[in-house]
């Protein structure tokens, strides 16, 4: 049996294409992932709530940033994972790629929702309203719609392989449009507020705040990866159930 190091990159990728192989691998990786995730989140929580100083301008509300900013990053990261997996699905026909894309979507959507809610809760004490149509929040809202549409398409097309391919096309079209949409929203926003610059995370981030932010971001990312593996495993089983059920009815 050739060692993994002897294989080329594409051969290694092929090795993971086998669902059974993926199940075995993820089975071994998951406990470690989960543990590290919990440690990072706990550390991040401690740093955010206790160690981080209050902001000179924003007071204690800066602690919201430690949730809001990583959520926003993960919202975008989730879409990139989804789009990347979709590209691999369409171009390379990797059998696990559309499963990865499908699994990533709800997690990304959850973080997008979190970014929106925490953004609103941060905006209220800062600007006095529960919602502002600033470029960042508006773009995040549209991203949320893109996630929902993607998940709706998966839910509406019955056959998994067909659903996977259609969803992959949607994700790729979405990823092309996201920069265009974001640019148009920024343009629209500056048109209405030519003078002021509304930045939701303030003018600059002090270095004492970078550490908690970084740890939280890392923790959120690993949380994403852990749940991605869990959901992929569930989806592989779900397809097996479907095949078994169909085989049963044909007897």
């Amino acid at each position: 049996m050739t060692a993994m190091s002897d294989l080329t990159a594409s051969q290694r990728l092929q090795a993971f294409a086998n669902p059974a192989r993926f199940m075995a691998l993820s089975d071994r990786l998951l406990p470690a992932c989960a543990v590290v995730t919990c440690l990072l989140l706990a550390a991040g929580l401690y740093l955010s709530l206790f160690v981080s100083p209050a902001d000179y301008q924003q007071g204690e509300t800066v602690r919201i940033m430690y949730i809001h900013v990583p959520s926003a990053w993960l919202a975008m990261f989730g879409y990139m994972v989804m789009a990347g997996a979709s590209a691999v699905a369409l171009v390379f026909r990797h059998p696990l790629a559309d499963i990865a894309a499908k699994s990533a979507a709800p997690i990304g959507a959850a973080f997008t929702f979190l970014a929106l809610v925490t953004g609103s809760l941060w905006g209220r004490p800062m600007w006095g309203t529960w919602w502002v149509w600033d470029a960042r929040l508006t773009s995040m809202l549209i991203l949320f719609f893109l996630y929902l549409g993607y998940m709706a398409l998966w839910a509406t097309i019955e056959e998994p392989v067909r659903a996977g391919r259609a969803a992959a096309v949607l994700a790729l079209v979405g990823s092309i449009n996201v920069p265009i949409i974001h640019y148009s929203v920024v343009w629209w926003n500056t048109l209405h507020q030519p003078a002021s610059v509304f930045r939701i995370d303030g003018p600059a981030i002090a270095s004492s705040m970078l550490m908690p932010l970084g740890v939280m971001a890392l923790g959120f990312t690993l949380f994403f990866v852990t749940l991605l593996l869990v959901r992929m495993r569930a989806e592989i089983f779900r397809r097996r159930v479907r095949v078994l059920r169909l085989a049963r009815t044909e007897r």
């Binding site: 097309i157 790729l172 148009s184 929203v185 629209w188 048109l191 030519p194």
Partner: protein, 225 residues
Amino acid sequence: MMRAFHMLVARDTRLAIRVGGGAGMAVFFFLTVVSIVPLGIGPNLKLLASIAPGMLWVALLLSALLTLDRLFQADYEDGSLDLLMTGALPLEFVAAAKAFSHWLTTGLPLVVAAPLLGLLLNLDTEDFGPLVLAMLVGTPALSFLGGIGAALTVSIRRGGLLASLLVIPFYIPVLIFGVGAAGGGGVSAVPGAGGQSLLLLGAVSLVSLVLGPVASAAALRANLR
């Protein structure tokens, strides 16, 4: 191949006009939506005038969405789509022909109706020209991008609503730049922004002329193979 393209456009256009559904329905919807706006927000003429370009564009968007599922569904159901897929004309051109026909039978009539409906919203008469120009430049994007939604949901019964939901985020740049080019949305406060938005709108439309058919064809292949 150009002949096949023209034939497909002619066929689809004839069908849309003959069935009587397509063009008329969309314009009727446009009229209805614009008419109920003052009922919703009051007949204050100054207020209506200020929101007229934006409101007309939003109503235009929604009306264009109405006839989207007509794009591929009918042919899918009677098998013509399979024939088209195996025919001489590449699927991307098939999608382009259908989108073009959609623009001729839905987009153009809506653009013609827009200034008249602008009267209902007390739109400034000197804004008529920019509005029509902006809509002429922007409506192709609506048809070509809309085809993507229609193609993605072609195998779903009653997939029209889902197609609309999928496509509306992609319409947002068209909306933003379209309103800007029509003179609304605070554009008058910033010099040169009106012209800039028209150029940006044109760029979005050009991109959609390529992205639309390519993505629609990919979606059709995904759904039909």
